[in-house]
Amino acid sequence: MGAGPPAQGGTEGARDGARPLLSVRGLGIRFKTAQGIWQATRRIDFDIAPGERVGIVGESGCGKTITGLSILRLLPGNFAGLDGKILFDGTDFASCSARQMRAIRGKRIAMIFQEPMSALDPVFTVGHQIAETLRVHTDVSYEEARAKTLEMLRRVGIASPERRIDDYPHQLSGGMRQRVMIAASLICGPQLLIADEPTTALDVTVQAQILELLRDISETSKTALMLITHDLGVVAETCTRMITMYAGEVIEDATVDEALVRPLHPYTSGLLRSLPHLSPRHGRLPSIPGRVPSIAEMPAGCRFRARCTHATKGCEAEQKLLDAGGGRRVRCWRFAELNLPGALHPPSAPAAAKVATQ
């Protein structure tokens, strides 16, 4: 949408030059269940540069949420093991003590969730909850904390913050609660904000406000954003790079524009083509046959194979995340020979052109 400078610049620079802020290598998470140990994610590799906005996309159960939580080591009780490294500014979270993690959470990395009401405590004022983060991590006085909270509430677009600071969560609307959550997450000036479906529970007009706020804050305060979502439109409007996950693995990593125009993985292409946005009105929607394999019965080799129209002999081999050139990576050995349709596939071109001319 052109609000703000186009994305490409920052991404490329980050890839060639500066050290990434976050570097995830070979991350895998295992859980204990009644049926034994389940591998929820595996071989997750990606980097996030300082100030970069990266979308993690995929359908339910693909492991995107657990990947976000595992970076902060916020893992559920049936957690059975973590493989790989989570390097943040030189520190490996995989081997940090609980005490070290507590010092990092909320201060250097913050996280917001889909449902702000369940993240806010109903018996404390929103001002108290925002200032709490500050008081835990710094030794500011009460007055200073309050002043900073007011400033932060103003920063996230809450009108008359002097009145709102002493409100309780139930007195605020859904959009305002998410603004409060964003204020609380940003009050210590973190280098990375992990946002897990932050606008999924909001109406489309409020969603537009919150996405604009996230983009604006990331640009002005150079906070990197890891946006976890199932909505490719949200990623396109907010992020510069898009990491697609399927069945617990990263299957494609590219700039948003590259992934939308010329996806390299058949799953990314299939997802794009199945969106009603991009299909001719009243026509049939192309769909991906079958369903995601169950975590207990993951096939060997390519995990998308059974649903892939391009599957052939050779796909039963283990698929590596291959370098596709220009900083792109894809987990499909056939990527170079497949010429896959993206968002601008001919049938959708007139509709897309219309959007562009508006």
Binding site: M1, G2, A3, P6, A7, E59, S60, S173, G174, G175, M176, D203, V204, T205, V206, Q207, A208, Q209, L211, E212, H230, D231, L232, G233, V234, V235, A236, E237, T238, V256, D257, L260, V261, G270, L271, L272, S274, L275, P276, H277, L278, S279, R281, H282, R284, L285, P286, S287, I288, R291, A343, L344, A352, A353, K354, V355, A356, Q358
Partner: protein
Amino acid sequence: MTAAAAEPHREPIVSVRDLQVRFQTSDRRATVKAVDGVNFDVRRGETFGIIGESGSGKTTIGRALVFLLNPSAGAILHDGIDPLALSRRAFQNHRRDYQIIFQDPNAALNPRMTILASVLEPLELARVGNSAERERQAREALERVGLPQEFGERYPHQLSGGQKQRVVIARALTLKPKLIVCDEVVAALDMSIRGDVLNLFADLQRDLGLTYVFITHDLAVVSHISERVAVMYLGQFVELGPTEEVAERPLHPYTIALLSAEPRPLPSSMRQDSRIVLQGEVPSPIDPPSGCRFRTRCPHAQPLCTDRVPEWRELKPDHWVACHFADRPNFSPNAQPETTP
């Protein structure tokens, strides 16, 4: 697109006149006007879309259309008759023709009943034929929605979300309805499944001549599937017209803002240069703004908008709008005075 679109003057399958639905708040001190004066017809064989944000009243309209809620005022006619004037028995027979499907198939299916038993239930309640005949019809309905025979013996937890929604559709089909109200029927489904289910709805419409009222917050879905679409805001329609017209030449500032707010999965070079970000949120339906209800968030609001309720008028053929200024040239999406750069 369909027969209905070709001859718009046939008797509508549903006529809604000055519909109002009001609820008491739980402390009984205030009244929520969930639907406040809505007029429209649904034409036979068409898909009529209703879009709106949460609290706009779209679900309340859907429930009222099949008489799960009774109108507080106004009338809903099915095929020209008022179902509320029918005898109890006649009403029960009548409502088989008008079905409704909801968002969450988990809430619609009993976890302790097999799929076949769930699909059989409406046939049993309606005392259709003997048990062999009922089972034949139920299995036929399952086949029609693309579920293999053996699914009849399974339980809901053994099915995926998309498959469960197919079962719910099969169950609604057993009584051979004329119209189905579809309330956010694909909202809970994953992206790759959504297309399949939307395709199924289109196939069933073609094969069975069904009419749909498709209620959703998702603009992409509604504009894909509907012939006509109504845009709802705070209990009222603000715009109604052919989908292509509403999507490409919207007349109401709210529709324009809604279309502009929709995140589109397009590369940066093809997205809009400017977007209208509405300020604030939807006011309370307990105490809606005077005059035009959208005026508190409208970038074009004038004093007149506070004083007078805009008339519901047919500005272009078949394209209705409730806005004092909808015919002013500066209202086109190309000329927005207040946009973000």
